[in-house]
């Protein structure tokens, strides 16, 4: 299906699946309401016309101005050869998204990564623990107010990116006292 047909098909299948949609550079994105997130995913996978069987990736995008984090799941259909970005917007503080790990198994790790990097909770996730970061790591590094380590040490003369200097609560320091609290120190 072309991106336009895909969006039209989903609106037809269940009008409440698609809150908003757009097509950029020939790629369709749909914003799904929270209560339909799992149902929409199940439809995308099981419907013979959609047949989204390959779970490509899931991640987040921080939008501090709207105080929201956008969670994006990208799926692809090997048989039908079409792409779709499934998006959902949640509040930066205390935002939760229902898990997709029961629909696509690949979502398990992707959600763990999204959780530790953006602080978005995934409801019903079977094993929501840190994946890439050390256990004791504090803060959500891919949020815009989390400064790069080098910017923390020395302010950047050019653009203050990401986040303005001084706005950061100095997050993300791994306690090093006693040499504990890193992954390497576990065993």
């Amino acid at each position: 299906m072309t991106p336009e047909e895909l969006v039209a098909h989903l609106q037809e299948a269940d009008a409440s699946f698609v809150e908003r949609s757009d097509i950029q550079f020939g790629q369709a994105s749909i914003w799904v309401p929270r209560e339909k997130w799992q149902a929409c995913a199940a439809h995308l996978k099981d419907c013979g016309r959609c047949h989204f069987d390959l779970f490509t990736f899931m991640s987040g995008v921080d939008w501090p101005e709207q105080n929201e984090i956008e969670v994006v799941a990208h799926v692809y259909s090997v048989r039908r050869q079409h792409h779709l970005n499934m998006k959902i917007r949640v509040a930066r503080e205390g935002g939760t998204v229902p898990t997709l790990s029961e629909v696509w198994r690949g979502a398990n790790w992707q959600e763990r990564e999204c959780w530790e990097l953006y602080g978005v909770e995934f409801e019903g996730h079977p094993h929501l623990v840190k994946l890439l970061l050390p256990e004791a790591f504090e803060g959500f590094p891919l949020r815009k107010d989390f400064l790069l380590m080098t910017r923390e040490v020395k302010e950047w003369e050019g653009r203050e990116e990401p986040g303005e200097p001084g706005s950061s609560p100095r997050p993300g320091r791994v306690p090093t006292a006693g040499g504990a609290a890193t992954k390497a120190g576990e065993h």
Binding site: F57, H74, Q81, L131, L132, K183, A184
Partner: protein
């Protein structure tokens, strides 16, 4: 005075009745195990010799590339993405150049596109040779490793002649390439195709036709195709499970629609199939390279009027390329600035490794390395 005479010897009393009570054992593999190509740790739970659960522990090489990319311009990002999958650096940078060009709507000169294809395929051969050699090594055969490095050295020399790099090429630019090919490059490349193709036969004899190798890999660690797709597994691992999904074929980028090649697939998706697909992918890459040689037109290798600072227009897009180990994609969210607002690196190894908890349970400890090694991955690509 030796024991063992009539009525002597050790007396064994089996306590209790029924079957013997066993205890599960937790065994830690890595993070420094040679079969992991970096630092991957796998915690496995054993019932006797059989694995009942496996949990990869990743993140030892997490370098925060996605965060860093938000503070770098596109020129710098091309150098940066060279480093996540260090065995297919050109394939990585190609994706970034392509996505920015797609969003800016640039028409890259055909000469540059053909040369990119040539480089991408040589890089794929370089990558696959590494795994071809190291998989043999993991199973106890040392010779293929030496053979693989013999070929790798030649290919690296060739690529160095054009790019100046042996591992991190940084040859792509948004809008084209850094430089044209040096004189005599294509002739050298043609000779090398013949040489590598001839030498590939050595591997066929050493590994694919080897009785010990077959015994250790056939029927071990089979992965059904639908499970693979569910986990987002791509590349040779998915193809070995019988699914001919390859974005060079299904969604051709560059000029892949103008060359002939096949996507080799396996049947059972076991370790042997995965290795066999990898081997046959090299042959297909060589086939593509041969066709590219005759098709490179004359002309510029970079757009003549590129702005000094490159700004991708506002919007978001996901672009995928078939990298050596699978689908390497970039999801770029731009606010129209010279830095990306968000650059998600969708790396093939991450999704492929996430499938390991499914693949390992049920197999025996002696098969562990044969299976783990056949999920070809680079830890830098997993952790980013």
């Amino acid at each position: 005075m030796f024991p063992g005479g009539p009525g002597e010897g050790m007396e064994v009393i089996v306590a209790g009745e029924g079957s013997l009570a066993t205890q599960e054992m937790v065994l830690n593999i890595g993070p420094q195990h040679p079969s992991t190509h970096g630092v991957l740790r796998v915690v496995i739970t054993l019932d006797g010799e059989r694995i009942t659960a496996a949990e990869p522990v990743i993140g030892y090489m997490h370098r925060g590339f996605e965060k860093l990319a938000e503070a770098r311009d596109y020129r710098q990002i091309i150098a940066l993405v060279n480093r996540h999958d260090w065995l297919s650096a050109f394939g990585n940078e190609l994706g970034v150049a392509l996505i920015v060009e797609k969003m800016m709507g640039l028409e890259v000169p055909p000469r540059a596109q053909w040369i990119r294809m040539l480089m991408a395929e040589w890089n794929r051969v370089l990558n696959h040779l590494m795994f071809l050699g190291s998989y043999g090594l993991e199973l106890g055969a040392m010779t293929p490793m030496f053979y693989a490095f013999r070929e790798r050295e030649d290919i690296q020399e060739l690529m160095e002649a054009a790019t100046g790099g042996r591992l991190h090429f940084t040859y792509c630019r948004v809008g084209g390439l850094k430089d044209d090919l040096p004189k005599g490059f294509l002739a050298h490349s043609e000779r090398l195709v013949k040489l590598v193709r001839h030498r590939l036969l050595d591997y066929e004899g050493l590994l694919l036709g080897n009785e010990i190798f077959k015994k250790r890999t056939i029927g071990v660690g089979a992965l059904p195709g639908d499970v693979a797709k569910d986990y987002g597994v791509t590349g040779p691992i998915l193809q070995a499970s019988g699914i001919a999904e390859d974005s060079r074929l299904t969604e051709p980028y560059l000029f892949y629609d103008q060359v002939d090649f096949d996507v080799p697939t396996g049947e059972k998706g076991d370790s042997f199939d995965r290795f066999n697909v990898l081997y046959r992918r090299i042959q297909q890459s060589l086939r593509i390279i041969e066709q590219v040689h005759g098709k490179i037109p004359a002309g510029p290798v970079i757009l003549p009027k590129m702005p000094k600072t490159i700004k991708a227009p506002e919007g978001n897009y996901y672009l995928r390329t078939e990298n050596s180990l699978g689908e390497c994609g970039y999801y770029l969210v731009s606010t129209g600035d010279k830095y990306p607002w968000r650059l998600k690196m969708r790396t093939p190894s991450f999704s492929n490794v996430s499938m390991i908890p499914h693949l390992l349970p049920g197999i025996l400890v002696p098969d562990l390395i044969a299976v783990l090694g056949s999920v070809f991955f680079v830890v830098g690509d997993v952790d980013r």
